[in-house]
């Protein structure tokens, strides 16, 4: 996704240094954005390989390829890589690239911290992935890291905790940067309620990050002291309680899922108007909806823990609060639909991904509602039904949002149009296979297949086969994505400044590719 060497030629002064030095020393928001995006794509492919290993093992009953403990390492690291290495950095990359362009700022407010947080993230993941090669292998207790199981991790334990601390610090720095940029660097006249929804969604996401990443850091620190210093935060023998960790984790974990989805909400809110050729419906409601989702996300966490044995009042409270969080989510879906109403719709690749998001994310929202009902959750919990739910909200939700964003802004980044036909192929293959992959998992879960198992009773074979075929189809389709991007970086039809038919917003007023330095003089707004 690098915007190529010719970008230097377009900038009127101060082009970037050449070669590797540029990427090691740059403090330019576009360069850093590019690095985040490339990193995220690499992590998406690495995490995807792990997923394919998982799906290959689950293709048939019996153990064919991996041992159970390695299987658990795969599921654990797959999730950590996808959540913290693919989805979150992709949204950070988009924030870096687009927020300054959307609000008319010359750069991010804290450029050196920006570079530092990228490299911190990079080393965090090198460390995490290297745990596969230490005695005892990678962490295998699931991305949720529940004690006491996680305390059975070998050499990888301190490495994984340290990696989590680093990526936590990295995302907090990213968040601080976004907030300072948005609060202090908006062009004159760019009031908060004129700000594009992508920037809005990131502002709120950034506050969520600051509120919950440190809680997670605290939680894993307590794990660390339980492991090394004989504290008993989570050890019943010493008066602690393993369930406490689950509360700490999900106090972070539920807002975390919104950290992944809110930027996608922002992206969808940019794309649907562009390809409907009319402004977003209910702009302010969209802002308030994001804010109320963010607020409510702090009071629903224990819906992940109905089976630990909670007081009745607790179960009722968390059922109700979780149902409520669906209200602002619904408002967003209705507003997107109404944005299309009496529009003039065309179906370029970004719009295709946005529409798929609209349908498939909503399916994930429905299964979320079902899971929120405590008595039903006693059956669903820890089955493939949950796996289906969170993959629907994360893959055709967050990931489709990111892909839509890439197809939306790629011409702005590279200065070239990409191959629309290939991109549409990518879309259709991805959108079909994602359903082949995840829809049957609802059936598997309802029929009683629990999650995080390398082998299963034979009656689950058929749907697992379908799911695995979908998985491989989905995985292979992503090679097409990489190919489309590479070709677009290398060349292609020149993109205009506006790129699309109905461009709106400051990012479309600068040339394509966006020059190395933009808005050094604040733009005029009317």
């Amino acid at each position: 996704m690098a915007h190529g060497n010719e970008a230097a030629g377009h900038g009127n002064h101060d082009g970037p240094p050449k070669g590797l030095v540029r990427w090691l020393t740059t403090t330019n928001h576009k360069d850093i954005g590019t690095m985040y995006l490339v990193f995220s794509l690499a992590m998406f492919l690495i995490g995807g390989l792990m997923a394919l290993a998982i799906r290959a093992e689950l293709f048939q009953p019996g153990l064919q390829f991996v041992n159970p403990s390695f299987f658990n390492q795969l599921t654990t690291v797959h999730a950590l890589v996808m959540v913290f290495g693919a989805v979150m950095p992709a949204t950070v990359g988009l924030a870096n690239w687009m927020i300054p362009l959307q609000i008319g700022a010359a750069d991010m407010a804290l450029p050196r911290m920006n570079l530092f947080s990228f490299w911190l993230l990079f080393f965090a993941f090198m460390l995490l992935i290297s745990t596969f090669f230490v005695p005892g292998g990678a962490p295998a207790a699931g991305w949720t890291l529940y004690p006491p199981l996680v305390l059975q991790t070998g050499t990888a334990f301190p490495m994984a905790i340290f990696a989590i601390h680093m990526m936590g610090a990295s995302s907090i720095m990213g968040a601080i940067n976004v907030i300072v940029t948005i609060v202090n660097m908006r062009a004159p006249g760019m009031t908060l309620l004129k700000m594009p929804l992508f920037s809005w969604s990131w502002l709120i996401t950034a506050y969520l990050l600051i509120a919950v990443m440190p809680v997670f850091a605290g939680g894993v620190t307590m794990l660390l002291t339980d492991y090394y210093f004989q504290t008993s935060f989570f050890n019943a023998a010493g008066g602690g309680d393993p369930v406490l960790f689950q509360h700490v984790f999900w106090f972070f974990g539920h807002p975390e899922v919104y950290i992944m989805i809110l930027p996608a909400f922002g992206i969808i809110s940019e794309i649907i108007p562009t390809f409907s050729r009319k402004p977003i419906f209910g702009y302010e409601a969209m802002v308030y909806a994001i804010a109320s989702i963010a607020f409510l996300s702090f009071i629903v966490w224990a819906h992940h823990m109905f089976t630990v044995g909670m007081p009745l009042a607790g179960q009722l409270f968390f059922t109700l609060s979780t149902m409520l969080i669906a209200v602002p989510t619904g408002v967003k879906v209705f507003n997107w639909t109404t944005t299309m109403w009496r529009g003039s719709l065309s179906f370029e690749p970004p719009m295709l991904f946005a529409l798929a998001f609209l349908f498939l994310f909503t399916i994930g929202g429905f299964s979320g509602l079902m899971l929120a009902i405590a008595p039903a959750d006693f059956q669903y919990h820890d089955t493939y039904f949950v796996v289906a739910h969170f993959h629907y909200v994360l893959v055709p939700g967050a990931v489709f949002g990111i892909m839509a964003a890439v197809y939306y802004w790629l011409p702005k980044w590279t200065g070239h149009m990409y191959d629309m036909t290939l991109a549409k192929w990518h879309f259709w293959l991805t959108a079909i296979f994602v359903n082949v992959l995840f829809f049957p998992q609802h059936f598997l879960g309802l029929a009683g297949m629990q999650r995080r198992i390398p082998d299963y009773p034979t009656q689950f074979t058929d749907w697992n086969m379908v799911s695995s075929i979908g998985g491989f189809g989905f995985g292979l389709s992503q090679l097409l994505f990489v190919w489309v991007i590479i070709r677009c970086v290398k060349g292609g039809q020149r993109a205009t400044a506006g790129v699309w038919d109905w461009p709106h917003g400051l990012e479309w007023t600068v040339p394509s590719p966006a020059p190395y330095h933009t808005f050094e003089k604040a733009p005029e707004l009317h």
């Binding site: 407010a109 804290l110 907090i172 968040a175 601080i176 907030i179 300072v180 609060v183 202090n184 660097m185 600051i210 509120a211 919950v212 990443m213 440190p214 809680v215 997670f216 850091a217 605290g218 939680g219 620190t221 307590m222 002291t225 210093f229 004989q230 504290t231 008993s232 935060f233 989570f234 050890n235 019943a236 023998a237 010493g238 008066g239 602690g240 309680d241 406490l244 509360h247 700490v248 106090f251 044995g309 007081p311 009745l312 009042a313 607790g314």
Partner: protein
């Protein structure tokens, strides 16, 4: 970047860093908050369960009978035989009772055990009062020693009507594994 903006950046960054520190502290504050939560909801905190309570001296409610069951577990790290002497007893709320467990040290050295109590149902915990319990203090055992351990308890007369059966469980841990105790 102009100076005033840089200054206001610095102020904002400082505030955000402070917020971050606050969130980190909040993570740890969840530990005591969790106990508060458990207390409010009547689950009872670990500390509370392991502390002596006073029995109310007023008359027992002889019209009501509740079954109290006793169970014992020896998790992973201990090597004891540990079991209740009687499996269950019928009690009247408000009256003081006595129950015994036996423990036998199977390790070929002196060891110290700590019993961690648990009451089921959760919501009955606050109505189960132990005036005396071997779980209040660590229990030292000589090599191969076997002895009876005592618990004196009363079930509060306010025990909600829906509860007809309580279980008192102990997990008996080897203290060597219990060092520290921040929780």
């Amino acid at each position: 970047m102009e100076a005033p903006r840089r200054k206001s950046n610095r102020g904002l960054v400082a505030r955000l860093v402070l917020m971050t520190a606050g969130s980190f502290a909040f993570g740890f504050a969840l530990v005591p908050l969790y106990d508060v939560f458990c207390e409010v909801t009547g689950i009872g905190t670990r500390a509370e369960l392991s502390r002596a309570a006073t029995a109310d001296a007023s008359a027992p409610d002889v019209n009501r009978t509740v079954v109290v069951e006793f169970t014992a577990s020896v998790p992973d790290n201990g090597s004891w035989e540990f079991a209740p002497v009687v499996a269950s007893m019928e009690v009247h709320p408000g009256r003081l009772y006595e129950a015994h467990y036996t423990a036998h040290n199977l390790a070929d050295r002196e060891t110290t055990g700590q019993a961690v109590p648990s009451i089921t149902p959760l919501r009955a915990a606050r109505y189960f009062r132990k005036t005396e319990c071997f779980c209040f203090t660590p229990q030292k055992f000589a090599r191969d020693e076997q002895r009876e351990l005592l618990v004196r308890f009363t079930v509060d007369r306010d025990l909600p009507p829906g509860i007809d059966r309580l279980t008192l469980s102990y997990a008996f841990y080897d203290v060597a594994h219990v060092a520290g105790g921040a929780g």
